[in-house]
């Protein structure tokens, strides 16, 4: 069957069961947009900015587990996706970014809207392509989807020159054989060690007295949450999570310690610091968790379970590693491990949890932590929470309890301010059965608030919960604690009337300034099937505690 390159792209998207894409048209993708014009099977969401499209596709992917697809033009269209791609790369999100490119005969001549997007995105993609041979297009798209979604997922960029989009191509059906790249078996050696290390791990688990599980985003991606609960309950080990791990272990479970690291709970940080065996599952020992390497789990033998061999001993040396899908590893460990009994360690953990619960002292009539607690109550923990970056993100991680994977969507690795609004749009479109709430700060929100246009245009029934302290709260917190209160360029307002801003987009908005108003407003907002913005007027001196100062051991907590 002879089709144009553009039609081939559409057919391949259908073949991959893509029914929703996010994008922004332009000169170098006109043929693809033309092919999209009569395609009923694929809904295209036009965002206000390509970065918003990328974050939306990312949010969609994180909420559903399916790959997010972005379609943008060459040059600035492509470069506008860069922050979104890097965000997805750092958090292992499967994303397919199709960028238009100038025609082959114009390549390399600094043509209008030409940019080397493959070169630019090489360090922030799992893989990327420039399709120069039209005949390779179907293979490239099939391989790209396979690469983006298999193993440790990640973003893939496909750069397609305009002449390839118009070339006539013979589209052959996909082969049922595994793609060649997958058959290379590069990780044989690691798989060989797995068996031996699994046996060693079982012995270690049997003899340890103070085990702690530290789980990360890999458990959410690998849908291994059930297996994690079974494992923890069998070895009676408390569980702490990284930011990306939120949802991997139920927030109400008696073994749950909370987040670990810079803004982790005292119980989590103390437990890790005194553990004699740390089982890291689908986590990468980020500096925001580890802080001072020598001070992290200093007494523990570390078992590291991760799909990606490159994560083993990258930041913190482990004693044993098992490189495989976390779900199957946890399953096998649980089946084979000796059931343990609770001991003094579990008593100690309970004591810490009682002595050091997350707490806050309201610094004004409205406390952000109170808002998050109420939100949990009102939504009964059933909502999907997206966040921006900074204090809002930390409070959302601390004071809302997540029951299952893919309910907490946040830019963990890159820490992208402006991520949340776009992500909430994509999450809502992927999970229409759930209420999606974006917890934002005023600084982050302003970065991409143009996407309110998308929210309004498509009437996306999401809530923007804007914690407005008129400042860059987290930076201000650091200035207060480590720069003698010299608040250099972190005061933002009063500048924007967010209620009026929402009104300009035809979005219903509320303003809350005391704890008493919170519950009613939240209840009303959650019940509405339309976009809502809630501005919460909070004190700029509110801080995120507990906190570990940068470079300190995580047992050295201030609050």
């Amino acid at each position: 069957m002879k089709l144009t390159g553009a039609q081939v792209i559409i057919e391949c998207l259908k073949e991959q069961k893509v029914d929703l894409i996010f994008g922004y048209p332009g000169g170098a993708v006109l043929p693809i947009y033309d092919a999209l014009y009569n395609t009923k099977e694929i809904t295209h969401i036009l965002t206000a900015h390509e970065q918003g499209a990328t974050h939306a596709a990312d949010g969609y992917a994180r909420a559903t587990g399916k790959p997010g697809v972005v379609l943008v033009t060459s040059g600035p269209g492509a470069t506008n996706t860069v922050t979104g791609i890097a965000t997805a790369y750092m958090d292992s999100v499967p994303l397919l970014v199709f960028t238009g490119q100038v025609a082959g005969n114009l390549l390399g001549r600094d043509s209008f809207q030409e940019v080397d997007i493959a070169g630019i995105t090489t360090p922030i993609t799992k893989h990327n392509y420039i399709v120069k041979n039209p005949e390779s297009l179907p293979h490239v798209i099939r391989e790209a989807f396979d690469i983006a979604t298999s193993g440790r997922p990640g973003p893939v960029v496909i750069d397609i020159p305009k002449d390839v989009q118009t070339a006539m191509i013979d589209l052959k059906p996909a082969s049922s054989q595994p793609l060649e790249w997958k058959t290379r078996g590069k990780w044989f050696e690691h798989a060989e060690n797995n068996k031996e290390n699994m046996d060693k791990a079982l012995k270690l688990l049997a003899r340890c007295k103070r085990p702690v599980i530290y789980a990360g985003g890999g458990v959410n991606i690998g849908a291994a949450n059930r297996e994690l609960v079974d494992f923890a309950e069998k070895i009676k080990a408390p569980v702490c999570l990284s930011l990306m791990g939120m949802g991997a272990f139920p927030g109400e479970h008696p073994y749950f310690l909370g987040m670990v690291g810079m803004h982790g709970t005292r119980s989590a940080n103390y437990a890790v610091s005194q553990a004699d065996c740390l089982i890291a599952v689908g986590a990468r020992f980020s500096d925001r968790v580890v802080s001072k390497v020598e001070g992290f789990a200093p007494e523990a033998e570390i078992i590291h379970i991760d799909l990606d061999p490159a994560e083993i001993s990258k930041n913190v040396a482990s004693h044993l590693s098992i490189c495989d899908d976390v779900k199957s590893v946890l399953k096998e460990l649980t089946e084979r491990v000796e059931e343990k009994q609770e001991n003094e360690w579990n008593d100690q953990i309970r004591k810490w949890k009682q002595t050091y619960p997350l707490k806050y002292r309201g610094k004004g009539p409205l406390s952000p932590q109170f808002v998050l607690e109420k939100l949990y109550e009102v939504t009964q923990g059933q909502a999907i929470i997206t966040t921006e970056v900074g204090q809002n993100q930390m409070w959302a991680a601390q004071f809302y309890k997540y029951k299952e994977p893919r309910t907490f969507i946040s830019s963990g690795g890159l820490g992208t301010m402006g991520f949340g609004l776009g992500a909430s749009i994509g999450a809502a479109m992927g999970r229409p059965d759930r209420k999606v709430i974006n917890v934002a700060g005023d600084g982050s929100f302003k970065m991409n608030s143009t996407e309110l246009a998308t929210v309004a245009k498509y009437k996306v029934p999401i809530i923007q919960l804007l914690l407005n302290n008129h400042t860059l709260g987290m930076v201000r917190q650091w200035q207060d604690l480590f720069f003698q209160g010299r608040f250099s360029h972190t005061s933002l307002g009063p500048d924007v009337d967010f209620v009026k801003l929402a009104a300009a987009y035809g979005i219903r908005a509320y303003r809350i300034s005391s704890n008493e108003e919170v519950e009613d407003v939240l209840r009303e907002a959650v019940s509405l099937d339309e976009p809502v913005l809630i501005e919460c007027d909070i004190n700029p001196n509110e801080k995120v505690y507990p906190m570990v100062a940068p470079g300190e051991a995580i047992s050295n907590v201030i609050d």
């Binding site: 493959a118 070169g119 360090p123 058959t183 290379r184 490159a310 083993i312």
Partner: protein, 178 residues
């Protein structure tokens, strides 16, 4: 400590920049890098000399393996055959020319071009041998030098080769294939 890596990659445009970009991004230092096609025209082999401890080499290997276009990464053993080719242009007068030729002969190098003011010497060998000749020729004034970078190959049946895991050859070569 120096380590030599043999890296098999797809012979595609853009692959070299993906590999070299990885080194700069992760802060690994490359002493030399040489690339050329292998017995299989679809596969190129990159020989990289890395300076670093075991942690660095472990990281380099793992990160390289993550690149889709990298087919195989192997650490070449120290007793392997290593060679590099250098072309050295040396200042030469009628008075010094013979002395230079004598030195060149001792090193079993070759004079490949002569004119009134200079000589071009071709030498093949490992890093040490080339370094030693360079040192000797410095006395006469080196005008220009160009080096290919090191390439290495293991002795005997030990080899860096891509064989599909289902292929019968795997059983034949067994563990020799890195």
């Amino acid at each position: 400590m120096k380590h030599v890596l043999g890296v098999l990659v797809d012979n595609n445009p853009g692959v070299l920049s993906k590999v070299s970009g990885l080194f700069s991004r992760r802060g690994f230092n490359i002493d030399s890098l040489a690339v050329g096609v292998t017995e299989n025209p679809a596969i190129s082999r990159i020989t990289i000399v890395v300076d670093g401890d075991d942690y660095i080499v472990g990281q380099v290997t793992k990160q390289l393996n993550k690149l889709i276009n990298v087919i195989k990464v192997a650490i070449i053993s120290e007793d392997s055959i290593s060679r590099e080719l250098a072309l050295i242009k040396v200042k030469a007068t009628p008075e010094t020319r013979n002395q230079i030729v004598d030195i060149v002969n001792i090193f079993r190098a070759k004079v490949v071009d002569v004119n009134r003011n200079s000589i071009i010497v071709e030498i093949t060998g490992d890093d040490k041998k080339i370094g030693a000749l360079e040192d000797m020729l410095n006395d006469f004034g080196i005008l220009e030098m160009v080096r290919t970078g090191n390439i290495s190959i293991d002795r005997g049946l030990k080899m860096v080769k891509y064989i599909h895991p289902d292929n019968e050859e795997v059983k034949f070569y067994g563990k020799n294939v890195l």
